[in-house]
């Protein structure tokens, strides 16, 4: 077992992430990625906007 072994040969395989039992787990994995990305992006944006707003008010 090597450290960097690409597990999926095509884009659709990576999307579906079919396991050996035949179930597609891609929907769960990608949904979590979407949620984490959204949460982090919204938080960063929110604080950047709020800091800009309050800095303008103080000025």
């Amino acid at each position: 077992m090597t450290m960097f072994d690409l597990q999926f040969n095509t884009f659709s395989e990576a999307l579906l992430m079919q396991s050996q039992n035949g179930q597609n787990h891609g929907i769960y994995v990608w949904l979590v990625i979407l949620i984490v990305t959204l949460c982090l992006s919204i938080c960063f944006l929110f604080y950047r906007i709020k800091i800009k707003e309050i800095s303008k008010k103080i000025k």
Binding site: Q7, F44, I54
Partner: protein, 228 residues
Amino acid sequence: MFQVNRAYPYIFYLSLAIYLFSVFWGLFLTPEDFVQGNSYRIIYLHVPASFISQSLYLAMAIASAVYLIWKVKLSVYLVRSIAPIGAMTTFIALISGSIWGIPTWGTWWVWDARIVSTLILFIMYLGLISLHDSFNNNEKADKFLSILVLVGSVNIPIIKMSVEWWSTLHQPASVTISEKPAIDLVMLYPLFGSIIGFTGLVTCLVILSSKLQILKREKNKSWVNDYV
């Protein structure tokens, strides 16, 4: 604040690079788990969020103690700044755990000790934010917030030990300080990377949140005018 401002972009871009690389490594380059199949790849997003949600509360508890003992104003600003970030990471931990539970346990929710104690942590974060914002007097709000954070810190060892003390559906920790990891090194390295990267990103969020808090609370001071 000036020094933190200078370090911020370095911390942000380095953490982002580590996090993206580790998550990519975990998602596409590690082998499938023989029991859970590919659903186990959620570990690279779930574990960092779960680890950080508890660590942030510990940081809040330490800062609260500092405020109550030495009355350092900055420490209570930090407590108030961490709370929303803690709520966000706990939310990610709960949601990702629930989604992971569907293919693994056959259900998205069980009233299991680990999950319930994490839900309590999430409610505590929200409660602390609402409590602090409901006061008109800032000093009173800071004091109550610090006391409540310290009282609530009892939940952290409960979350940590819940999988040992009770029979839970949630699996025990795969990595401990004292024992050999229960997870293969091929899967473990990207997990460490994702924890480090996520910790760095959350640190950046805490820096931004603290900056906002300081500007809000000190807006009438002359040094703030000079700063902005």
